[in-house]
Amino acid sequence: MSVCGLRVIKPGPLTLLQDRGRFGYQHLGLSPGGAADEHAFLWANRLLGNASNAPALEITLGGLSLAVERSLQIALTGADLRASVNGRSLKPWRTHTLAAGDRLQFGYASDGVRGYLAVRGGFEVALCFGSVATVTREKMGGLDGVGSPLQAGDELACPEMGLVAERSVPSRFIPDYRQPLTLRLMASEHKGWFSAAALERLYRSEYRLSPRSDRMGARLEGEAVESLVGGIVSEPVPFGAVQVPPDGVPIVLLKDRQTIGGYPKLGTVHPLDAFALAQRQPGCPIRFAPVTVENCAEQYNEFQGFMDGVRVS
């Protein structure tokens, strides 16, 4: 049985219901969407003993204010959004138990971009094509099924479940989003788009994250990388694809990317680095370094296995 657990008083600039994304509809043009930083999203569910895909809130920059309608257990991960309950500050990367009548408020991010709020058992939301992932551009997912961000007055249903022992994420797993970021790149196997020299230049250059970045993609500022072709025949784009428009400055495609694109691609960024990129603030120094697909796959599988609670053989 579910009842309203949290009521939205103030939604903040952009608060979205998210899960790991919408699969099986990309061939009809639906963006996969999903939590921009899956690392923090998955930790929030893991702390509460939830299914790894349980719906949670992605709070962009902060500003969210919630009324607690009945006692429940939450987990906060990702950017430190200066959360407080009745004026008492709450640390991120751990669980907290709230009581009916509490007021849960978020300030604004000091570092990082997106905070995640999960509840024990996960928010109960009707699925839209198999997922709650909110893709506002496509009018998909979210509380209303048509992609709206949270609004004042929205009521979030939570299942009634017993509490787990309070837990926190070991400090060695908590990232520092203020650090410069190196994106490990699996270089494209297509040889006709960039010269070896262009790829070398990419690895030597330091970029900065542009303020024009969003859930679709992270734009960079810095040295242009020359492509041997202006455009390509439009083709599907994987998560983390690094595309180069005619101005030569790379864009890393993230969760809300379009399903197909017509710019040449340098390769694909390690998914764990793409999650970390979604937490960097504009101006953050960004570099690229090569990685093999074998290395990347091994680490990514281990991460997913850990988050799903499955032992990796």
């Binding site: 061939h27 043009g29 983390g240």
Partner: protein, 240 residues
């Protein structure tokens, strides 16, 4: 020699590449590959995304590694050339070609030194292939329009193209499934819902299908549920 190569696109994604240039010849090949892979590996795949010259496969790398999946894909596609051509379904899309809903009909006619009637006749005379669906949910890229109709995109995209608009850009044609900004030439409108959340199939067409546009009258358009644009939109030449 095999007519395709398999590239790694990430730890959980493979790109099967069938060529480098747009040609209707690849459409049945990629549709055939897509159908075979769905049949043979369906439950192991998260997404199977066809485009003009490529087919991307997204999967759970914990079940099969990238190398293992590449091997499976190669096995499944081994006899692709030998299989009977998969040509998809033929779907008819009714279109009301009219200046009130196709504000660029005259532009296309002028650019190609044709009359508006000839533009309509030529656009509805040929069978199109659905190359890919993307850009927006249900937006199907179809081609190829007769060379005599090839018209570049508008210099300035419209801020909002109405739902159901039938459009032309170079030798490609499409129907806008949702209201969105767009720079293609608008030549008519269909009452058909190109992305219907209430229907199991969602889209009336899928990549690899064939499409024919059938001219209908204003009365037929209205009878089939088509909506008229507001007068202000028409007066401003389609709110360009």
């Amino acid at each position: 020699m095999r007519p395709w190569v398999v590239e790694t696109a990430g730890p959980d994604a493979l790109m099967v590449r069938f060529g480098e240039t747009i040609t209707p010849k690849l459409v049945p090949l990629i549709r055939g590959a897509s159908d075979q892979l769905r049949r043979e590996l369906g439950e192991r795949l998260y997404d199977l995304i066809p485009s003009y010259t490529t087919l991307m496969i997204v999967f759970d790398p914990r079940q099969l590694s990238v190398e293992e999946m590449a091997g499976r894909v190669s096995d499944v596609l081994q006899y692709l050339e030998a299989t009977e051509e998969s040509v998809g379904e033929l779907i008819e899309i009714p279109v009301w070609y009219d200046l009130s809903v196709g504000p660029d009909l005259e532009r296309v006619a002028r650019y190609n030194r044709l009359s508006v009637e000839q533009v309509i006749e030529q656009h509805s005379a040929v069978e199109y292939h659905v190359f890919a669906i993307g850009f927006a949910p249900g937006f199907a890229y179809m081609g190829e329009a007769p060379q005599a109709l090839a018209t570049p995109r508008l210099d300035t995209p419209r801020p909002a193209v109405p739902v159901g608009s039938v459009a032309l850009a170079d030798r490609q044609t499409a129907v806008y499934p949702i209201e969105t900004p767009g720079g293609w030439n608008l030549i008519g409108r269909t009452p058909v819902n190109m992305f219907d959340r209430e229907r199991a199939a969602l889209c009336p067409v899928s990549a690899g299908d064939r499409v024919r546009f059938a001219p209908i009258s204003r009365a037929e358009y209205l009878a089939q549920g088509g909506r008229l644009p507001p007068a202000s939109w028409q007066e401003r030449g389609g709110a360009r």
